[in-house]
């Protein structure tokens, strides 16, 4: 199928790659079908809506942001997403990029959980409050002589 998008113009979609967003992304519940555009050279990917060519989210593998990320997926959601094996699950975190000043934050509190086998997905909100809604990858303060990953952990914005 062909769709017209704002960022990529008209693109041809392999229908087997279409992801069905059950319940939609919060705030965009009317958009159900998406495709993921990955780029080998860039950890930031596009999660493109097929229902509205103007809407796309920048996403990232949350483990690239936090290696020890351990989101708890409820039994309800496992059932809803028809997950049979943990290997079928792919997680994506929505990225917010701001300019002036430049900052990149990742939403670790509400990841997109995808059943890669069945191509069904959902945005879930985690109970764990230690995962912030805005986890900053960019340093907002300088810290001298601190390991990179530790500095990034220090930069976590606490969710209100």
């Amino acid at each position: 199928m062909n769709i017209v998008t704002t960022r990529f113009g008209e693109i041809d979609i392999d229908e087997s790659k279409i992801i069905d967003m059950r319940g939609g992304v919060l705030g965009f519940e009317h958009l159900k079908k998406y495709v993921l555009h990955m780029d080998d050279n860039n950890p930031f990917w596009w999660f493109q809506s097929l229902d509205d060519g103007t809407i796309a989210f920048v996403v990232i593998n949350p483990y690239s942001a936090k290696a020890d990320y351990e989101p708890m997926i409820s039994d309800n959601d496992v059932k809803l997403l028809e997950i049979e094996e943990s290997g079928d699950v792919v997680l994506l975190a929505i990225v917010t990029i701001r300019q002036n000043p430049f900052s990149v934050s990742v939403n670790l509190r509400a990841p997109l959980v995808i059943n890669a086998k069945k191509k069904i997905a959902k945005q879930i909100i985690l109970e764990d409050v230690t995962y912030p809604v805005q986890y900053y990858l960019t340093a907002m303060r300088t810290v001298n002589g601190v390991e990179d990953s530790e500095r990034r952990d220090n930069c976590e914005a606490t969710a209100p």
Binding site: R7, L26, G27, V95, I97, I125, D148, A159
Partner: protein, 87 residues
């Protein structure tokens, strides 16, 4: 807004599939039990609103050309390597 008064242990139904029960009151806090089918998402309102707003912000911020995303990755790498060079 529909306002109902319930006694401890009493419930409210929403549609055919949702039931909310008033379980306990302690000072200013109320414990509610909610029964609903799995496809209905239930959240504390303030966190639901927060996630919604963050999603909307993310989409607004993402309204840039595809090529600029490469610039974001470069910019991030730059920023991180700059800090590493600090004594």
């Amino acid at each position: 807004m529909l306002i109902l008064t319930r006694k401890l242990g009493e419930s409210i139904t929403v549609g055919d599939d949702i039931k909310i029960t008033f379980l306990e009151a302690k000072g200013k806090q109320v414990k509610l039990g909610i029964e609903a089918p799995p496809h209905i998402a239930i959240h504390r309102e303030e966190i639901y609103r927060l996630i919604r707003e963050q999603n909307i912000q993310a989409v607004k911020a993402a309204s840039m050309e595809k090529v600029a995303l490469a610039g974001v990755w470069d910019g991030l790498k730059n920023l991180l390597s700059k800090d590493r060079k600090r004594p």
